[in-house]
Symmetry: none
Subunit: 194 residues, 4 copies
DNA sequence: CATGAATGAGAGTTCATTCAT
DNA sequence: GATGAATGAACTCTCATTCAT
């Protein structure tokens, strides 16, 4: 695939992200995409066979962008508690951001829940839990935190965040609620937000 | 609407539940329902105008069934901690049950997240949180539990459960994980499962 | 058909007239009629097999009502010119009346233009032309009017009225226009409206 | 829209005209058109959204064709009386032609009598009346005709023609009758057909 | 590579008509 | 006679997908 093709593909993905954000996953038709990115009907099929394939690439790009933020070694001189707080603040932004693909992602995952396609989401989850567990274990070792089962605590944080994300897309959630949940989580680990 | 009509309506709702469970919300067409309950194309329209209306009634029935379990005064001689545990066990069943409408429910909620139709879900959530808060407050007052902010703890439980429900429908969750999360929750409230 | 049946039939016809007036001929469904007269779906079929049959009876009733007005010997002491004017005034009312079945009648006639069903309309037209011709011939004989070919004059009046009726149902017509056309017609017969 | 598209559109319009002529306006379905012009179901929708849109374009074409005949400067060396006669002869052909859209046009107009869509018909009528009025005024000025109110005479001609057109589609009309009506009209203007 | 007209399957919906009660 | 639930054919319209240019 040439350079020109790659640029075109990126154009499509950007326009598609907008469409998926606005209309979710299932409601989106190839026609919608075609209209949104001003490409020809047949032309789109040269790059993507269907909306599923398209969405998967959109999601991939999204994950990569998010991951790069999270993996950044911004934690040089920070203690585990500070790092955890930074992570939770990042998640807060994600929960509350307006132009999220979260709803579309859920739709996609529900649709493909019996197939293998949800694996990348699962891997992402497992990875996150492990990182959190390590963080908490470190926090306990360095006596910043109090926790008997870092593994369960990590999972609990992950599920709580997942629950807030789902709620944000369905029944709604306020910034204040997210804040107080963050404070509560920190509290269960024996830390207090200054 | 006569007695016979009501019976028919119930038949349709039962068949429809099966279809929604199998295929989610959006993928379901009136034709699917028609074929599932051996009624004529036009006949179905005598009872329901579209899949949305149908699904809302299916969901209503579902809520009523669940609610009746929760509202049951099974708590006569139980202390707050025992009641909470019973509630969490009930939720565990719901999280793990195979024939759940959860995925379809999420699809429905995402689809209608900007309209008023999601309100019943929100009310259900708020109600649950209030009940949990009361339970924890009682538990603290009777010195069964330790908790500085019952309100946040209640919300935390609700979001954790929501996160596990969402996870169950997407990346999957094991009974063991649910059990250990229940234990962890009880632990944060200063209780230990025997 | 018993007395009760006849009453029921009349009820249906009255409700049906309203429906045909409001929605024209073709747009009307048996369902519309059923809903308008509060009879059962199957019940309606005991009296009328379809909307065509129904409309024909509604039209028949209408003709009979109109005819009775026109045939009335209101012309005792009137001269032919006065009678003609009276007739034209009657037609003016018909042209301008709001609750006319004219549009539905046209629809019906166009629909059935190749069948025998339009004959009653044709008979009605021929009868009217003959009466007008006689009137004009009398007027000429008694030297109230001037006309070389009463037959053509009569037809001309009939077609002009028909044209105004059609116009009233499509592009609209004002009372003033009808008035001036009546005056013009009288003028062509050498008469002047005082 | 390319050249090929335009040709296709014209093909559709021609096939559609045939269908509308045969079956009127309301009875025509998109399926009828599809079958008549050997196009695919979806293909037709690329050009026309519904039968109304289609019929309006068919009618437009028709009007344009008719108009071009009337606007032709065939009147170089003709006096007003001769022009009027030519016009009436043209109308005679229209009244009597077998493959006319008149019936469908009436159906369409009745159907849309309360909307703005009937306006083009009204404009057409008004335009015709004005042209006739001018013709008669000229005829009177040049002493070919005798008429006290050219405006009313013009309207009378228009309504008479309209009446004959309607009659042709419903109760029928013979060539002889149209001829004698033309003669009568000329007579009322003080002219005699040689 | 790129285009966009064309296809046809299939969804939603309505209605005349029937028939067991 | 009277009811109204049930039927199934038919209609409108949309969309993923193909294919000649």
């Amino acid at each position: 695939m040439g350079d020109k093709s790659l640029r075109k593909k990126n154009q499509i993905l950007e326009a598609a992200r907008e469409v998926f954000f606005k209309r979710g996953y299932r409601a989106v038709t190839m026609k919608d995409i075609v209209e949104a990115c001003g490409i020809s009907r047949g032309g789109l099929y040269l790059y993507f066979a269907n909306t599923k394939e398209l969405f998967e690439e959109v999601l991939d790009r999204e994950y990569r962008t998010l991951q790069s933020v999270l993996d950044a070694p911004a934690s040089k001189n920070a203690n585990p508690g500070e790092i955890l707080l930074m992570y939770l603040d990042e998640q807060k932004k994600e929960i509350l951001r307006k132009d999220t693909l979260a709803a579309a992602r859920y739709e996609y995952m529900f649709e493909n829940r019996f197939s293998e396609d949800g694996m990348s989401a699962k891997n992402h989850f497992v990875k996150t839990v492990k990182a959190l567990e390590q963080l908490i274990a470190d926090g306990v070792a360095q006596e910043w935190m109090v926790c008997e089962s870092p593994k369960e605590a990590a999972k609990n944080i992950a599920y709580t965040l997942e629950g807030m994300k789902a709620a944000a897309q369905t029944i709604g959630i306020s910034a204040k609620t997210v804040d107080s949940q963050i404070a509560y989580i920190m509290g269960t680990l024996g830390m207090v937000i200054k």
